[in-house]
């Protein structure tokens, strides 16, 4: 339970920082950190069986692939 509370506090801190303090340039990296925390702790992927971990990794890889392929096409035209 304390593990969850600490993570929750961290997430709220990061959200508030990204919102009020930190310049816009860091918004996406902070979002990535928060996403990582949610997946690892709240969704308990850190201690999960390898199969869900592989599924999450492949989904993330394909998500990034589609965004990168589309962005690269427009950016390098």
């Amino acid at each position: 339970m304390t593990r969850l509370a600490i993570t929750y506090a961290l997430l709220m801190a990061l959200a508030l920082a990204s919102w009020l303090v930190v310049p816009a340039g860091y918004a996406l990296p902070i979002a990535a950190v928060k996403a990582g925390l949610i997946v690892a702790v709240f969704m308990d992927l850190a201690r999960a069986h390898p199969v869900p971990r592989i599924a999450a990794l492949v989904a993330l890889l394909l998500f990034a692939l589609l965004c990168a392929g589309t962005y690269a096409d427009v950016a390098t035209r």
Binding site: Y8, A24, I38, V41, F42, M43, H49, V51, A59, V74
Partner: protein
Amino acid sequence: MISGRAHALRITVWLVVASEGLLFAGLFALYAGYRAEYPRGFAEGVGLAVGWLGGTNTLVLLTSSFAMAAAIQAGPRAARRWLVGVLGLGGVFLGLKGAEWAIHIGDGLVPGAHYAGPHTPGTALFVTLYYAMTGLHALHLVAGLAMVAWARRREDPAVTECVGIYWHFVDLVWVVLWPLFYLLS
């Protein structure tokens, strides 16, 4: 080979999360492509957003995610109370989101032909993507609320855990959506 219902349910919910994640990937790819083509139009679009509503919604959803995680670890009686918290916070999120949409529609920020927002090239696309992505997210959130209500009645730890993972996924999508539409101006 771990057989057993909990393991099968956990794989299933992670596959659903992966599948829904890729449903959002298409929209994120469109956002990436159009942001590359119209950086100024998108920056101006982010300027239009109601900052405090977005921020508050982020804090609300993070709290609901914490409540859900607590419900998974808690005993049957405590879980039911945590899940009421999740339902409440989810409702608050939808309320704020509805208010936000009402404000924007009032300002004429409507996708498609009746768009009356700033005419910087790309801003109309930004608004259309805003409605598409937050709309799809809200749809998934409503589905999540229905599943949480069902899990609360079932009082089956395996079911609660799976619904929890799906709920965290909905929160995860919002965590990434929030900077795109509220911070990156």
